[in-house]
């Protein structure tokens, strides 16, 4: 038999057609798909022994108990957090905006040149920690000033009231300890006063759509006592006094007597003389509040040296002479102060889950070194003191180990608070009223873009939301102007924002110029 060229073609064609009826091409497709799924551009999750660690979240004073799921020593998931920020807190050490290096030696050299007569101060943006007491002791030794955003912090007891009036407070949006607020929420009637349709307004039993203290007061507040008003608006403290509301001094865990004797008093920023500071050290590494720069700047001498301990360049690092990299949660052992809704003393630690980068500086240790105060073991010293006061564990070592593993020590209840008068606002001709978004940590997981960019759930940090009527003549980018400055923002029309209100995002630029109730206007860029 002689094979012709036609036979070869026929065989090849038949083989190709027949191959389709075999598993070969399908196998090829599947294998190539599998290969392309695992191509080198896609990161591969680490493999290893799955372990579990317990700790407490230090992003805010709520201090939610966390369980970290780890591959080896690397945390890959956190459970127990009461908010979106805490769920992804283990991403913070890897944030692209994380400050990892800074002029540490230059800052130390500048501080070393300071003469005893030159005024120095520490601004602590997370007061009530052991580090805060180290700052106070150091400032006492250096004849300096310890500045706190709120020298007389108060705490509210939500569990003992039947009616709560929230005056613009984000009560259900991370205002206090989420688990505590939600547990108490079942028992009280909530009236929310605020112009913007916030989640608290939407979930309140009654919503009064107006800014500030409502006039007349809701009848329920007066008739269904005990009642409580929460918020920073003028008149809230006075109203609580009239209502006999359960407002207490914010409790603080016991501190060694020797520390109290050698500590500088807590000073409000307002009490610092104008142009009175030559050196200002700002600890914003675990900040739970923000003081607009326009309030700090007048307190600085013309040749002032500002050193900030920051986790990113977004906050005071923009204004500082030296921005030093600080550790971020969960990189160091730190204690967590009491939250606004905690009326008993608590002492709990956030234990490190990952090591910090080599160049970061611990603010309290650097400040303590200036005054030759031993600070490295201050936390342990305080824990031992607390254990001595009320031994909950057999030995100090056992108590310390329990704290490192997430144990929460609870002490005695707090005492009623002394409220301070509110300051009047300056007159202005700005037609809009600013309502800033609730506080957010300085550094957020990159996954927060799910909330800010990939959905409309939250207002992006650099944006303002206006009623479509107010935003009608504005382009997508405009300038937000207040008495304290200007800032370029993205304009988002939002029908849920009433006319005359500007809902401002939480970017540092906006927070620098804008506080709740400020007059504002949005103009063309």
């Amino acid at each position: 038999m002689k094979n012709t060229r036609r036979d070869i073609f026929k065989f090849a064609g038949g083989a190709a057609a027949g191959a389709l009826l075999t598993p070969v091409p399908w196998r090829l497709i599947k294998d190539s798909s599998l290969w392309s799924e695992n191509w080198p551009g896609i990161p591969r999750p680490a493999r290893g022994e799955i372990r579990s660690k317990t700790t407490n979240c230090a992003l805010c004073p709520a201090g939610c108990p966390l369980r970290a799921r780890c591959v080896g020593d690397q945390p890959v998931a956190l459970t127990g957090a009461g908010c979106a920020f805490g769920v992804a807190a283990h991403h913070l050490p890897y944030h692209p905006a994380r400050l990892r290096q800074g002029p540490v030696e230059q800052a130390k050299a500048a501080l070393a040149k300071r003469t005893p007569s030159e005024p120095i101060a520490v601004l602590d943006l997370n007061p009530g920690r052991t580090a805060s007491w180290t700052f106070r002791r150091a400032m006492a030794a250096l004849d300096g000033t310890y500045i706190s955003p709120d020298p007389n912090p108060i705490a509210y007891d939500l569990h003992s009231v039947r009616t709560v009036l929230s005056v613009g407070a984000p009560l259900l949006e991370g205002w206090g300890t989420p688990a505590n607020v939600l547990a108490a929420r079942e028992k009280f009637y909530l009236v929310h006063a605020g112009a913007v349709e916030t989640p608290t307004a939407m979930l309140a039993d009654e919503w009064i759509r107006a800014e500030g203290l409502p006039d007349p007061l809701p009848r329920r507040l007066l008739e269904n006592g005990p009642s409580l008003a929460v918020g920073d608006a003028p008149g809230v403290a006075e109203l609580n006094r009239k209502l006999g509301a359960p407002v207490y001094a914010r409790p603080e865990a016991p501190v060694p007597d020797a520390w109290k004797k050698q500590a500088a008093p807590v000073t409000a920023l307002d009490a610092v003389p104008a142009r009175g500071l030559r050196f200002l050290l700002i600890d914003e590494s675990s900040a739970v509040t923000y003081i607009p720069w326009h309030l700090i700047e007048p307190k600085l001498a013309s040749d002032a040296v500002v050193i900030t301990f920051a986790v990113s360049r977004g906050g005071y690092a923009r204004h500082a002479t030296y921005a030093l990299p600080a550790p971020v949660f969960p990189e160091i052992t730190e204690d967590i102060p009491a939250a606004i809704d905690q009326t008993t003393q608590v002492f709990r630690l956030a234990a490190p889950l990952v090591p910090p980068p080599p160049a970061v500086v611990n603010a309290s240790e650097l400040v303590a070194a200036l005054a030759d105060i031993p600070a490295a073991a201050a936390l342990r010293e305080r824990a031992d003191f607390i254990h001595m006061q009320s031994p909950a564990h057999p030995t100090p070592d056992a108590f310390w180990q329990a704290l490192v593993d997430g144990y929460i020590w609870r002490g005695s209840p707090s005492l009623p608070a002394q409220s301070s008068p509110t300051q009047p606002r300056p007159a202005h001709d700005l037609p809009l009223t600013a309502v800033p978004a609730p506080w957010t940590p300085a550094l957020l997981s990159p996954l927060m873009t799910k909330l800010y960019e990939e959905s409309n759930l939250r207002l992006p940090p650099n944006a303002v939301a206006l009623n479509p009527r107010d935003a009608a003549a504005l382009p997508s980018r405009a300038v937000l102007q207040t008495l304290h400055g200007k800032c370029t923002v993205r304009v988002v029309p939002d029908a849920s924002v009433p006319p005359g209100i500007v809902l401002a995002g939480s970017s540092p630029g906006i927070r620098d110029i804008c506080t709740h109730g400020d007059g504002a206007k949005v103009v063309l860029a």
Binding site: K30, S33, L34, S36, E37, N38, W39, G41, I42, P43, R44, P45, A46, R47, G48, I50, Q74, P75, V76, A77, L78, T79, A81, G82, C83, A84, V87, A88, H90, H91, P93, Y94, H95, P96, L172, E173, P178, A179, L182, E197, P199, M202, L203, S445, P446, L447, T449, K450, L451, E453, E454, S455, N456, L457, L459, A465, V492, P493, D494, S496
Partner: protein
């Protein structure tokens, strides 16, 4: 045979977004690509503001006439007969997006970009879930990795692996316990619960309850 499902009490949802972030952490969903919007983003569960309520939306895990299954030319979508979970197999998906067009709940998302995490953050990826490639469709699968882990645990403990209990990441993260999960045969459904677009006959397995909004009216973005 287990039929996993969810109940979502819309009246309890505060719109905090913890479920969205927990889902992204659990399922190795990357952060937003530069320029991503609500139309091109990847959010297996997304919370919408509807009127004066927040409504979490995720794959409704249709039980009958599952639209995405019937249109997929690659058989990349299948209903697991053992659990009722609608599974998506990215290695089979060719990215035609027919399923996205067919899904009446708009609960499917397309991978427009290569998955990328900031340097170092790959270390925090969940080892139980493989990251997906560019060009495939993704959606909620009730945390299939956790179901597998629960099944393995049941086998190790000598229990019946066909009836395991586990908790998806969104349910675990919800601070108000608005989302509950379990076998629909035993999961208590709040009085007045509805399923979205029930008239289509797709037998979804997510039950919503709200006294504030008419969920049958559908969803709408409120901002932007």
């Amino acid at each position: 045979m287990t039929r996993y499902g969810m109940t979502i009490d819309v009246d309890r949802c505060t719109g905090c977004g913890a479920c969205m972030v927990a889902c992204a952490v659990e399922n190795n969903i990357p952060p937003a690509h530069e320029g991503a919007t609500d139309r091109t983003g990847l959010t297996w569960i997304r919370v919408f503001k509807v009127g004066q309520a927040f409504v979490p939306m995720l794959c409704q895990q249709c039980g009958e006439e599952t639209p995405c299954v019937s249109v997929c030319p690659q058989k990349a979508v299948e209903v697991d007969p053992a659990t009722g979970i609608v599974g998506q197999m990215p290695e089979r998906c060719l990215g035609c997006r027919y399923c996205m067009a067919a899904c009446p709940y708009h609960a499917r998302y397309f991978n427009w970009h290569d998955p990328a995490w900031p340097p170092g953050m790959e270390k925090t990826l969940n080892p139980d879930v493989a990251p997906r490639m560019r060009g495939v469709v993704e959606k909620c699968n009730f945390c299939h990795g956790r179901w597998h882990a629960a099944k393995q645990q049941a086998v190790a403990e000598g229990r019946d692996p066909a009836h395991v209990e586990y908790t998806p990441a969104c349910v675990e993260a919800c601070p108000t316990k608005a989302i509950r999960f379990g076998d629909l045969a035993t999961l208590p459904k709040p009085p007045g619960s509805v399923r979205l677009l029930e008239s289509l006959g797709t037998e979804p397995k997510i039950y919503y309850r709200s006294s504030k909004v008419d969920l049958r009216a559908g969803k709408e973005p409120s901002r932007g």
